[in-house]
Symmetry: C2
Amino acid sequence: MNKNIIPLMIACVFLLSACQTGNPDTKKTETVNKETETTSQLSNDYYSAIITDGAYQTSLNRGITLGLNSNVNLKAFETGLMDLSQGHFSTDSYFFQEGQYVDNATTSKWLGRVSEENPTGLNPEDNGKLEPDERNPIYLDSLLEQDYMVQKGDGFELGGISIGLAMNSVDYYTKKEYGSKYETKISQEELLAEGKKMADKIVQQLRETEGVGDIPIVIGIFEQSTEDNLAGGTYISEAVSEKGSTSFQNWKSINQKKVIFPTSGEESNELSSFQNFKAEIEKFFPNLSGVTAEALYTDDQIVNMKISVSTQFYGESEIIAFTQHVAEKAASFLVPNVPIEITIDSINGTEAFLAREAGETKFYTHIFD
Amino acid sequence: MNKNIIPLMIACVFLLSACQTGNPDTKKTETVNKETETTSQLSNDYYSAIITDGAYQTSLNRGITLGLNSNVNLKAFETGLMDLSQGHFSTDSYFFQEGQYVDNATTSKWLGRVSEENPTGLNPEDNGKLEPDERNPIYLDSLLEQDYMVQKGDGFELGGISIGLAMNSVDYYTKKEYGSKYETKISQEELLAEGKKMADKIVQQLRETEGVGDIPIVIGIFEQSTEDNLAGGTYISEAVSEKGSTSFQNWKSINQKKVIFPTSGEESNELSSFQNFKAEIEKFFPNLSGVTAEALYTDDQIVNMKISVSTQFYGESEIIAFTQHVAEKAASFLVPNVPIEITIDSINGTEAFLAREAGETKFYTHIFD
């Protein structure tokens, strides 16, 4: 397995002196007198992560993303930024580290409304109005930093930063504390325009942060899904600031959507194949309490599908027979050539799991007995 | 995939007539004017199951096993009987069906105490005593029937029955309704002797049940684990009644045990390798709330291991890095050559899953993102 333990003592002495001369081309190493290694890499889909003194370093603004509308948004916000980063920082030569440059205090200020007391606030000032279509909404709900490190001599140094901006398409608010919940709807056009303005302000401040220097900074605008949506949000636009630039040009829009089957899917091959699959397995096992899927589309092509089957659990024999049946029906009914994950759950947790990974034709199956 | 749809109309006319003549050598087919198929088979470890008119047939005494001490006992009771059955009914030529001969009423009578009103009760009579060591305990807690079918002409017929007897090593009882819980302890010797006596009574009644005839009947005595045990029980003895015999001879003891690491394991290679693995992953991720394993031993050799890792969930990046770390440490620290299953859970459910299947050297890994 890929494991690098690197003694950094000597390297750091040199690098720290270099930093102290104030040379703007020198990037600071992350670790001083610490033993740095990396996790193994399951596949090219994932980055190896940096481990310092045997422990994983969590982000400086840890916990900030817990404010998102739902757990599915939280996961989509994080993994989406990693996916997007792979277009700029290859998983072969970059190592992952949670954000170590934007701390909690800075993030809180940025997420606040701009005011005399909070001049760096990225959300609009409070205009004193309370009605959904009169007030200034909160556009930016959360912010995520990811650092992409490169190996340099005996150590690692910062090679790039990715920033995710989680924008609201609906801003939920109350008129008074503990009062009823109201909603201000925000069009995608509006949240995109606001996100782009914020991105420039962020990169200006980031460039002034010690240790960032002129490395590439990637930014992604994430439109989080609403509270009642079973699917998480998606990134809708991205840009990169290179060579120390303090603004973003050349925004590139990302055409991605997540669709929940069978409830929100439009007429499609994928939907009808899913419905046939659903009918087949429900016939077999009348006690299913739910069969739903989340399908991800990029440029209107299906990219992957996650299916969740909820069962009443009566016995292990039933689960085994059912899982074998699902494996067969999945192979014959579901769309070919895209990764599919199927979980079979009961109140006791996950009972069985099936997955066809990218590039595979067969389903891997595991029954938790 | 292995799928057989068999039109049974003609075959049944013949078989039913044969049954009606009362010829004791003729076995009744299960399905009349019904379309019978079978599930696919994931591997030789599992039986294909019979499906009738597209639906899985549940057992006649469904729900009875829910009375066991714990969910892990329930799973072990069922899958253990399937494993044991594989020694008598090969998964290549036999098909699984939940029990269709011992109905709910019969099972309830058998599980009751013997009395004038319940002459077929298999548990001892109530001797009126209430003290743990004076009363007659309930030995038999639950009963499971599994049918093993064979293909015959255009249909399926009964090829064998397996019966599991779940015996108490501790009988939990109350002296009055809703009162405190007391325990009568039962030695393994005693529960084995009682189970063997019950087995003969059961096979006598089974042979008289319509449709059973002289097929082989396998019986397994299961010692269920106590309520506070994280591991399920094991089968401790088995026997087979062949050629219509109404008793069991040649009981064969089964030397199996389940050990929970690190709490109940004795000094062993497996335990110390597990402890090293645990230490490595806890160092990486200080927020782990638990790392435990269940190891199964047959004839004092480790057969498989199930590891459960509970984490606090902060973010997806952490889970990805942690899973990659676990995959590496599992490969380098855990015992080689036995199947291992590792689940990484948070309060949101299963976050990641790793498994090394029988005969494999690499871990399969899946992250639920």
